[in-house]
Symmetry: C2
Subunit: 121 residues, 2 copies
């Protein structure tokens, strides 16, 4: 991915600059400092010059920008390790489930979530 995958970077830049407008703690250098990465690297990430960072770095970035980690990971084409683990424990079942419900509308899936939450299982 040395080219394209600009989506992740431009989204991050947009969010960071939005926060920077009201809080000078969100300069590229300061964010990079808190994440424990080089400013150069974050710069290239934001401009889509390099592929998105590792899962762990993306999660730290999500925390710092107060963004949803799953959304940021998705923009990077990744799925969180804990979700992967859910599938890996019962691969046949979850593979079948996901392939069956993949086109179900949001409200139907949310209904499942609600019903499970309410202990109807």
């Amino acid at each position: 991915m040395q080219a394209n995958d600009r989506a992740f970077g431009s989204y991050v830049r947009k969010q960071r600059e939005a926060r920077l407008a009201g809080d000078s703690a969100y300069t590229l250098r300061k964010v990079a400092g808190r994440l424990g990465i080089q400013p150069t690297y974050l710069s290239k990430v934001e401009r889509g010059d390099v592929a998105p960072p590792s899962e762990e770095t993306i999660k730290r970035l999500a925390r710092d920008l107060d963004e949803d980690p799953d959304v940021l990971l998705a923009l990077a084409g990744k799925v969180s390790a804990d979700l992967r683990a859910v599938i890996l424990k019962r691969p046949r079942l979850f593979a079948q489930l996901l392939r069956t419900i993949q086109d179900a509308p949001d409200h139907a899936l949310l209904r499942v979530v609600r019903e499970v939450r309410n202990g109807k299982w």
Copy 2:
């Protein structure tokens, strides 16, 4: 993973040798030949000497051994690209769904599958 992750290899060896017992087309060399990989490599994979192969190679192996690809991938700690894609299209929703239903018993999840199949959505 230069050590351990023996689970994938030993399972593959077991299945291959079971087929070999009744069909001489399942020698290590012949299977490797059909997969388009070196026999040396398959040997090391089966003995857990190296990490499991790529997703594509695992899928060819599953076809050749008539095994469930999702199960073989799971033994290798991987999730099929098409399942990943399902999550990536609606990351917030599927992340929430998976975390909510992760501990639901098999029969409850199968009921969801059946209900979606029967068009109750």
